[in-house]
């Protein structure tokens, strides 16, 4: 498969994977490797000096993987919190991009579109490349694109729900309206078939975490997603046939033996 570009960087894999919720750090590392993903999301949290006394074991494992890190602003509920977290992440991880997450509702962890737009503007002015985690709202997509976002990350369904693509119509509309932006389905993916569906809609990539980390066998599921993303993308590029109402035989009818004739 051809390489693709996102935010000025080139990658082979179109799968972006999270680093949370795995049964162990070892399974996390092996799952990330098996997924073939080159972009891994990470976060920042308050930590005591005692817990960091012998270094940060998680951070060491992630660094050893040699992947590109994409910090998130998970847990932020206001633009101010998200901006502060993004700035702290830029300093620690030494990257200029951020998965901007500003949560507006605790029940479904739905992004707050108003605070998201506010934070996006501030961060772009501060020189960030902002990858906004957003609802599948076309008008919101336009506002974010107008601010200068070149990647949009609409949800498939709520974070960690594993419900797949709740609203393919909206996702399709965003794809159609923004043919030149990188579009990533972020959140809600449960099965490899959900990822294939997202890729078949023409999305440029998929970001997931729980679907792999919470699978019965995370490493095997990571590999399944690796192939799902490839299958979905190749399927999209190849272009599917038109649906028909009537059946049409695929085996040639010329030369059919007499006993088949009615």
């Amino acid at each position: 498969m051809k390489k693709w570009k996102i935010e000025g960087r080139e990658f082979d894999s179109r799968l972006m994977i999270g680093s949370a919720l795995y049964p162990s750090p070892e399974i996390m590392a092996q799952s990330i490797k098996a997924s073939g993903s080159e972009i891994v999301t990470i976060a920042l949290r308050r930590q005591s000096a005692t817990s960091l006394k012998d270094g940060n074991a998680f951070w060491d494992i992630i660094r050893e993987l040699g992947v590109t890190l994409l910090p998130n602003t998970a847990g932020c509920h206001t633009a101010k919190e998200a901006v502060t977290t993004a700035m702290m992440a830029r300093e620690i991880f030494e990257v200029d991009w951020v998965k901007l997450e500003v949560i507006g509702n605790q029940y479904n962890l739905q992004p707050d579109p108003f605070e998201l737009v506010k934070a996006t503007k501030i961060l772009i002015d501060e020189g960030f490349r902002v990858l906004p985690y957003m609802t599948d709202d076309l008008v919101l997509a336009q506002k974010l694109a107008d601010l200068g976002c070149t990647t949009l990350m609409p949800w498939g369904s709520p974070i960690g729900s594993g419900r797949g693509l709740m609203n393919p119509y909206s996702l399709k509309s965003i794809r159609k309206q923004f043919p030149n932006l990188n579009l990533i389905v972020d959140a809600g993916i449960g099965k490899p078939s959900d990822a294939i569906r997202a890729m078949e809609l023409g999305f440029d990539g998929v970001l997931l975490n729980s679907a792999v980390a919470l699978a019965q066998e995370p490493i095997k599921m990571a590999e399944a997603f690796k192939y799902a993303i490839i299958a979905g993308r190749l399927g999209f590029e190849a272009g599917a046939m038109e649906k028909r109402d009537m059946a049409s035989p695929s085996t040639p009818t010329v030369g059919t033996p007499f006993w088949h004739q009615i």
């Binding site: 990470i42 930590q47 005591s48 000096a49 960091l52 951070w59 502060t84 702290m88 620690i92």
Partner: protein, 66 residues
């Protein structure tokens, strides 16, 4: 002075301290980023940013994320 460090109240005998002094006293090393009263403080300003009574310091480090 009394300040909040990661949500916990800490007491220092000094009336004010710079961020780098506080990090040293608390024995923080590398791999952290700091916000004072919810505003990010760049590393190069640790030595001249003064923390006073009632201030809130947040010290963050990498963890797993989705």
């Amino acid at each position: 002075m009394k300040i909040s460090v990661n949500g916990e109240i800490k007491e220092f005998s000094q009336e004010s301290l710079t961020i780098d002094k506080i990090l040293k006293i608390l024995e923080y090393k590398r791999g952290i980023a700091v916000a004072l009263n919810e505003t990010f403080i760049i590393k190069t300003k640790y030595s001249n940013t003064v923390v006073k009574d009632g201030d809130r310091l947040d010290i963050l480090s990498p963890i797993e994320g989705g």
